[in-house]
Assembly symmetry: C2
Homo-oligomer: 684 residues x 2
């Protein structure tokens, strides 16, 4: 759908425009008047004029067409205003009003009603509980941020779920001369959400990079889908609030958003090529530099006039999993010609404390041929010339427009002007080495992003059955399902009584394992419901008697008993593995594989993937710790069989949206085969 009228409207109505300067509706009108060149229609029931503009009682009174309505009236009246807008054929509205989902049950009801109306209406809505939206070219500021903090024009879009952070960031950005293309306070996202906004910004020529502050997403899969498309063209950088478990509780209490723990977001961001940052200052640097810098390699060059600066930068590069370029003999020879003999010609290239602007220039001319990102450290010393050095750096940049040059100017007052000069010339300038390194790391992730490919996933054949049961299926109750998708489970028989046991043992043989059968007792071992190592008729008789006693003494709710063959009769070397799936409310199925058995929870070595499983997921798993352990202990085909199982579980989750968790633990992995000896499906 065409969103051009949202960001480039010919006329804007502001419902709740006010003469009272303390009211939100007054501030928005003021901001609009300052920034917007189109027609403004203040709407107010009680007055004819506001801030010198003719006011109307209702949008229907306005004769001319209206492209965008900004609504800033108490929550109770919003639905009725929206209906009026729809009748007036207004196609976009921004609901500033708070008092919806975020403020309890009554607000929740109001929000539901608005949502229901929008579903069948033609009007598209940002908010409610939004600070508003800003376009810088053509300009309009339909927010209630302080009219004194004037966002500048730039190439970065910013979408925020927190209005307060948004206004603080605009404030700080303006001070630092960072500009924006569009700014959107997404609010409760009753209609237009982050994923929609990504779609709009994908083709916005003014937007070179998109930054997000996100606390929770309603539809994670839609976000991933749209983000993948965007990541093919421009970088997305996200700060996720509520990463920690306690942070998530804080996020929930203030936005009402459903949040899960961090892992699903990490996996989703990684799948979609989204650069994830940890704090506001990082977000800030990306806002400034993401639209211009292009990083296609993880190898970095450091040029420094301070040994210590080189050391610290190298540490940061290593911590970020980047590398230092190894300089060829040719380059070293060229450097020898221009640098003093005390200079260090290996990367980091230490051009010494007395480095002149000329020396910086000559060094940069040589290493710029390598076409790799260059971090240039400048530490002010007695004889240094900050501005002149900045000018030389700028010259080099002019001659190599696409070369990523990242100057780090250490120090205070003496280098401020030089930093400003660089920034005014479109060159980043950082205060500390780790900032430059974080930018390179992030943009490298983006620069080498490829959309997920699912060739192994698509090739895997399986017929996931529809699981109709609404209760959990533990043990042999779920065996049927695993049989159908092709996951090998230990051979076992369900039985109810002594007579059936005698038949069962004839099929199973010794050694065998006896368990209670139950869809409610998840950990049978813990209640004494499992007896291993049964080797004879006599063992079996005793075991069965003992189980029956346990059941009656502890009033265990069982559906009979299970007799299994011993999956490791020959006592062969094996590793216990676990496979599992968990349905994340935002992103769908998370599939996990890790060390199983006794020490699983202590070592907690599990790798997770977000369904569907991509070829990249598989190759990353292969290179993970647990992937390597499996490769070391088993043959190639066993590894592939486990991957096959992961995909089958993923497809099973897909075919049965009611399944909450699948838990196969342990799978005994032998050198040449695998077999699951305990397995559960959680439907409730």
């Amino acid at each position: 759908m065409d969103f051009s009228k949202l960001f480039n409207p010919e006329s804007i109505a502001i419902v709740g425009a006010s003469r009272d300067p303390s009211k939100v509706g007054s501030v928005i009108l003021k901001n609009l008047r300052i920034t917007y060149r189109g027609k403004i229609f203040p709407i107010n029931l009680n007055t004819d004029e506001i801030q010198g503009l003719k006011a109307y009682r209702k949008v229907s009174e306005v004769k001319e067409p209206i492209d965008l309505a900004v609504i800033a009236i108490p929550a109770e009246g919003v639905l009725s205003v929206l209906k009026g807008c729809e009748r007036k054929k207004i196609r976009f509205a921004i609901i500033i009003s708070a008092g919806f989902k975020e403020s309890g049950n009554a607000g929740m009801k109001l929000e539901e009603d608005v949502k229901k109306f929008i579903k069948t209406a033609k009007i598209r809505v940002i908010g409610p509980n939004s600070l508003g939206a800003i376009n810088t070219s053509p300009a309009y500021n339909a927010t209630f941020i302080d009219p004194n903090s004037k966002p500048m024009e730039g190439n970065t879009a910013f979408i925020s779920q927190s209005g307060a952070l948004l206004s603080a960031i605009i404030d700080d950005a303006t001070l630092e001369k960072i500009g924006f293309s569009k700014i959107i306070s997404i609010g409760n996202a009753v209609d237009i959400d982050e994923a929609d906004m990504l779609n709009v910004l994908l083709n916005d020529e003014k937007t070179g990079a998109i930054t997000l502050y996100v606390e929770g997403l309603e539809d994670g899969q839609k976000f991933i889908k749209n983000a993948i498309e965007v990541s093919k063209k421009k970088p997305i950088i996200a700060l996720k609030g509520g990463k920690s478990r306690i942070g998530a509780v804080a996020a929930e209490s203030h936005t009402g958003a459903l949040t899960d723990n961090n892992m699903s977001y990490d996996l989703a961001f990684s799948k979609a090529g989204v650069i994830s940052v940890d704090n506001i200052d990082d977000l800030f640097n990306f806002m400034r530099d993401a639209p211009t810098l292009k990083i296609k390699t993880d190898e970095v060059i450091i040029v420094t006039n301070a040994g210590g600066g080189g050391v610290i930068t190298t540490d940061a590069i290593s911590a970020a999993n980047l590398k230092l370029v190894k300089l060829s003999n040719n380059i070293v020879n060229e450097l020898t010609k221009v640098l003093p003999k005390e200079a260090s010609l290996h990367n980091p290239i230490d051009i010494l404390g007395d480095a002149t602007p000329e020396r910086y220039k000559e060094t940069l001319e040589i290493v710029s041929k390598l076409n790799k990102p260059i971090i240039v450290i400048f530490s002010p010393q007695e004889t240094s010339l900050p501005i002149e050095t900045a000018k030389e750096i700028s010259e080099i940049q002019m001659q190599n427009r696409d070369l990523p040059i990242l100057p780090v100017f250490l120090g205070g007052a003496r280098i401020e002007k030089a930093k400003r000069f660089l920034r005014e010339n479109g060159i980043p300038a950082y205060s500390y080495p780790n900032e430059a390194v974080d930018i390179i790391r992030g943009l490298y992730i983006y620069g080498t992003f490829t959309p997920p490919v699912y060739s192994t996933y698509d090739k895997t054949r399986t017929k996931p059955p529809k699981v109709s049961s609404k209760e959990n299926l533990f043990g042999l109750h779920s065996k049927d399902v695993f049989d159908k998708i092709g996951i090998k489970t230990a051979y076992g028989v369900l039985f109810k009584n002594e007579t059936e046991l005698q038949k069962a043992i004839k099929k199973i043989g010794y050694p065998c394992v006896l368990k209670i059968a139950s869809n409610t007792i998840a950990h049978k071992g813990e209640v004494g419901g499992v007896i291993l190592g049964i080797k004879s008729d006599e063992d079996l008789k005793k075991a069965f008697a003992s189980l029956k006693t346990k059941v009656s003494e502890n009033h265990l709710k069982i559906d009979g008993y299970e007799l299994y063959e011993d999956a490791n009769k020959e006592n062969r070397q094996n590793i216990e593995i676990l496979l599992g799936a968990h349905r994340d409310p935002q992103f769908g199925a998370l599939i996990g594989i890790g060390l199983g058995g006794e020490y699983a929870t202590l070592l907690n070595e599990t790798e997770f993937m977000l369904a569907p499983i991509s070829d990249k997921d598989i190759s990353e798993f292969r290179n993970s710790k647990i992937g390597k352990i499996i490769s070391a202990a088993a043959k190639h085909k066993v590894f592939d069989e486990l991957i096959d199982y992961l995909i089958k579980i993923s497809k099973l989750m897909d075919a049965n949206p009611q399944i909450k968790n699948i838990d196969i633990n342990p799978i005994m992995m032998f050198e040449d085969s695998v077999i699951a000896t305990d397995f559960k499906i959680y439907n409730s």
Copy 2:
């Protein structure tokens, strides 16, 4: 020894004072003239007057006593000048001159000569290759930093191994109004090193906190010893350059310092209560706030006017392993009385976007009773009043002088004044939440530091033998040593030929294990030198024949063979553990315990401790992943036995400085006992 004349000299000679303003000796003189009220004696062979002061040809020409000599002449002349200073009874010198160890072999020789002279002289020396030293009260600036960057008086000392970083940091600190008590560029530390400086600063009343930039330490144990004493009184904050392996190479090439990887520094800093920071901006914040803030708890309160700010702060708190205070009903009730009903009364306490200064004040008054660190988030919104809010915060601080209040003022131009106001009133003011959290985390580590106690270590009785061998001792060659200190090893017999084998098998019995004996082949299994599972005379015969063939075919250098009992005859459940020791060049023995056997390197679950092993090391190990795995798999006494082994290895390392590594892997750990089945001592 008394260092008072170093920092409070009555007269300073500057050897190499110069009339040429481009010379280091000119800048130092200028800095001294600007800052120093005592007598200055410029020393220069060729002139009678410099910068209006009478100059002398040699220190011996000065009639009055001299307390401190600053030497800034070419390296070649330094030793002779030092000798002159010694004759003149000057007790302290700062050698600015470069051209020593850091610049190759010739410089190394010059440095050795200086070192040798100082050993028997009375003069104590800072440098060479030092930027100089600064005291702010009573003031002198004996450095060649830019005379325009005037370090302010404050309560933090700064010792730096990098001169360039030091000048950049002073520059930036001055801009940010951060002051210093003393600043020392430690240079090549030919005499006075960081540990000595710590000792001096321990009793310096002007110094409330000590910050360090370190790349390498010559004598790590001395550093730990002195740092522990300092940490009882004032915090030490260290930025370690060269943490990564590649960073260490960079550090080595520019300072000539021996550096090891990071782990030993982490362990040493932790043992000594030193707060370790990762980057310059963190170091900066500690410079400002460490002398004043006292943190004794890991529980934090957040008061915020922006939900998103609260969320991000909570995430940072969780990532730093800190906690949120759980508010009591009483506190919540009090808050109810002063806050609007939409406010969130749980921690983080969200006092809403329209929070007035008054509301901040009332909230802070209530929560300040809890006497826990409070992070106050201020995000500028349309109606907020930054300065007035800062004033209320300052009021609360005045009423509760020891309460750690950490305001975070988000945003740009609109909050600059408020931040300045807070800082001028001695209250920290951060730009981002993670800065406040990092400060709390660091000062909490310091605030709860207790010097190491060695009760278990001291109680452990063992008689470590003197190992005289200079070659490695592998397998049974080292068994003797382990027997003597009391570490159980698998029973085995060394033999040379068939006849001895027959005798050996009578002692060992079946099943058994046959190995080659060698002090040069570390991984016998990899060359086919180990045969397991020998169950009969026939097996043994075949095994021995096969080993002999392997040896001759592959020209293996062996000293015979080893026959071991099978340590797990009964095929009992066990976990393979590894114990090891490694001698770190700076800090002495590192002792490690972890998962052993096949997957040891893949999982890499090993905990390290720095010898001697403290009670805290033991309790931290107990709570580590691997500690918990051992506890889960074995009885209490087995855990204690492994700790006992660790201590014994530590004492063995102590008694034998030539031992480089000890490698006991695996130790088979059964539920009720342990036994080492492979063990090696590396002497070379």
